[in-house]
């Protein structure tokens, strides 16, 4: 049985804010409530949930950015809050909305600084950079200042930077946010390859169901800081992503929104029964995550 590299047990995190002008009272907000789960080495876990569900807070707790109110966690055998420095050598972290690169420096300088920070010898860092730049197609960005990179280019550099010290666990908090289709594809392919070839454990949070489908084997869904579901991606797809929304745009500019369930009706039969005359454009969408969560609340009946 593979070794469990992430072990979380009854994790709580509460934030306090003061309220009132004269008599200040503390208002408590529970961001993470009694969260327990484990991840095996080499596994790719998608951490999903609506905005404010507690995904990013959990990632921050597990990467030692935040201290928990109570509970325990072991990341590759280390307590993240007591062994911060040792943990930094074993994990790679990418926050989609934050940068770990030096904004005003060229990519090469950011990488040499990171190599020095992680005590990586120059020749090892160069070799690793070559590998990563080939896989992520970022070789030509080497001398470009970080501030001149596009979002997609920057994100690829961020992921390369987080893997420079060859961590065994990679935490990614919304890595594909704001990226175009091609940039997302490159990232997903790379992450999949990284997990399968190097055995890197990946914990990924995302609002994009394709990230989950393409990269992860397992899904952990949280809402209001509580674990709602812990299942395989296969199971989630068959149980909850069968509903499709189809938007048809007619030549006169009108749009029609239809839905069908792939469990109950095949795509062919749906298209046959739909009037496709005078159609100029067609969009097929998965249901939003919020809808899946709502469905989970009512026992999946909305999707039944």
């Amino acid at each position: 049985m593979p070794k469990e590299v992430i072990l979380v047990d009854q994790l709580f995190k509460s934030f306090y804010s003061s309220k009132g002008w004269f008599r200040k009272s503390l208002v408590k907000t529970d961001a993470v409530k009694n969260l327990s789960f484990s991840v095996c080495a080499g596994e790719c876990l998608a951490f999903i949930g609506p905005n404010g569900a507690g995904k990013s807070t959990t990632v921050k707790l597990l990467t030692s950015v935040l201290y928990p109110t109570s509970g325990t966690a072991l990341i590759d055998g280390l307590n993240p809050w007591k062994n911060r420095c040792a943990l930094a050598h074993r994990i790679g972290v990418v926050f989609g909305q934050r940068s770990q690169l030096w904004y005003h420096l060229p990519v090469c300088d950011s990488f040499s600084l990171l190599a020095a920070a992680y005590d990586i010898p120059d020749h090892v860092a160069q070799k690793k950079w070559k590998e990563l730049s080939e896989m992520l197609n970022i070789g030509r960005l080497w001398r470009m200042p970080v501030k001149q990179l596009s979002l997609g280019q920057r994100m690829r550099c961020e992921i390369a930077a987080s893997l420079l010290h060859s961590p065994s666990i990679l935490f990614l908090d919304e890595p594909t946010i704001g990226l175009d289709v091609e940039a997302k594809r490159i990232l997903r392919d790379f992450l999949k390859k990284e997990a399968s070839e190097n055995g890197t454990t990946i914990l990924l949070t995302s609002h994009d169901t394709e990230d989950i489908e393409k990269v992860c084997q397992r899904v952990l869904l949280i809402n209001n800081g509580t674990k709602m579901l812990d299942t395989s991606v296969q199971r989630l797809k068959t149980d909850f992503l069968s509903k499709k929304y189809v938007r048809l745009i007619k030549t006169n500019g009108d749009s029609v929104r239809l839905s069908f369930d792939t469990h109950k009706q095949s795509v062919q039969s749906f298209l046959k029964q739909t009037d496709l005359n005078d159609i100029t454009d067609i969009t097929i969408e998965n249901p939003p995550l919020e809808e899946i969560i709502r469905a989970l609340y009512i026992g999946g009946e909305a999707y039944a």
Binding site: V65, Q100, A116
Partner: protein
């Protein structure tokens, strides 16, 4: 140690890309010295008391104080403030490196480039406007230069402290203004402290600025080994003091970040 030297080296190297900033700073430094040189000439001719310092010594005194002022990196305290406010600093802490010392090395790298650069160009300018006249204690310049480097260490720590003061005041600007004005007045940036009333001199020497700025610059016209050692010991004391204060602030910052997040 290697990681901090790498940070300092990068900060040093990137200075060569900031030609416009270097030129602007150098221009104002030389302009200030030129104006004060003319001013001092007139004052020295009309007032006997100013015979204590001749105009050549005086502008070399100004050059040393000016290089310590203009040699520091601009905006680092503001960047620290922004990182504290936005919480980005919490993400920097994910690296196996002390953020406090990383900021210090960045500031020091800038100083190490600008200090000799500004000093050399400034010295050539002074020789030009004085017709090649040298200050009284020119042979003691190597010792003075070493003391200037010690002052640069203190000033870099001070810059980090200004940035970290955001924790207390939500803004680094009040602390920046306070320290800058204190440096101007108590550091004797425009006039040597020996011109000040005695009570103000006592106050100045009870603060780091009397030693870091005036203490070093005065050696160009009033050098003695005892005075140089005394200044070095006082600067070292204030460096230790600043390290202790910054460490305290940094620990407070780490604690707050760990509780409230980035």
């Amino acid at each position: 140690m290697h990681k901090y030297l790498a940070l300092m080296k990068i900060s040093f190297i990137t200075q060569k890309n900031e030609v416009s900033v270097l030129c602007a700073r150098l221009f104002f430094l030389l302009l200030l010295i030129g104006i004060f040189y003319q001013f001092w000439h007139i004052v020295a001719q009309e007032n006997q008391t100013t015979n204590l310092i001749n105009p050549v010594d005086f502008i070399w005194y100004l050059l040393i104080g000016g290089v310590l002022q203009y040699g520091r990196g601009e905006g680092l305290h503001y960047r620290i403030e922004q990182e504290v406010k936005s919480g980005s600093i919490a993400y920097r802490m994910l690296r196996p490196i002390s953020v406090m010392w990383a900021y210090f090395c960045e500031a020091m790298g800038t100083f190490l480039f600008r200090l000799p650069f500004f000093f050399c160009i400034g010295a050539v300018f002074l020789l030009m406007i004085t017709g090649g006249k040298l200050p009284t204690c020119i042979l003691d310049l190597p010792v003075i230069f070493i003391l200037m480097l010690l002052s640069a260490v203190f000033i870099s720590l001070c810059t980090v402290f200004i940035g970290l003061s955001t924790l207390l005041m939500q803004d680094s600007l009040p602390m920046f203004w306070f320290i800058q004005k204190a440096e101007y007045i108590l550091g004797g940036l425009f006039f040597p402290l020996s011109f000040y009333p005695e009570w103000l001199q006592k106050i100045a020497f009870a603060t780091p600025f009397g030693w870091v700025n005036y203490g070093v610059a005065r050696l160009i016209y009033d050098y003695s080994f005892i005075k140089a050692v005394d200044t070095a010991l006082h600067i070292l004391f204030w460096i230790m003091f600043m390290i202790a204060v910054n460490t305290l602030f940094y620990r407070l910052l780490v604690r707050r970040m760990a509780i409230n997040g980035g």
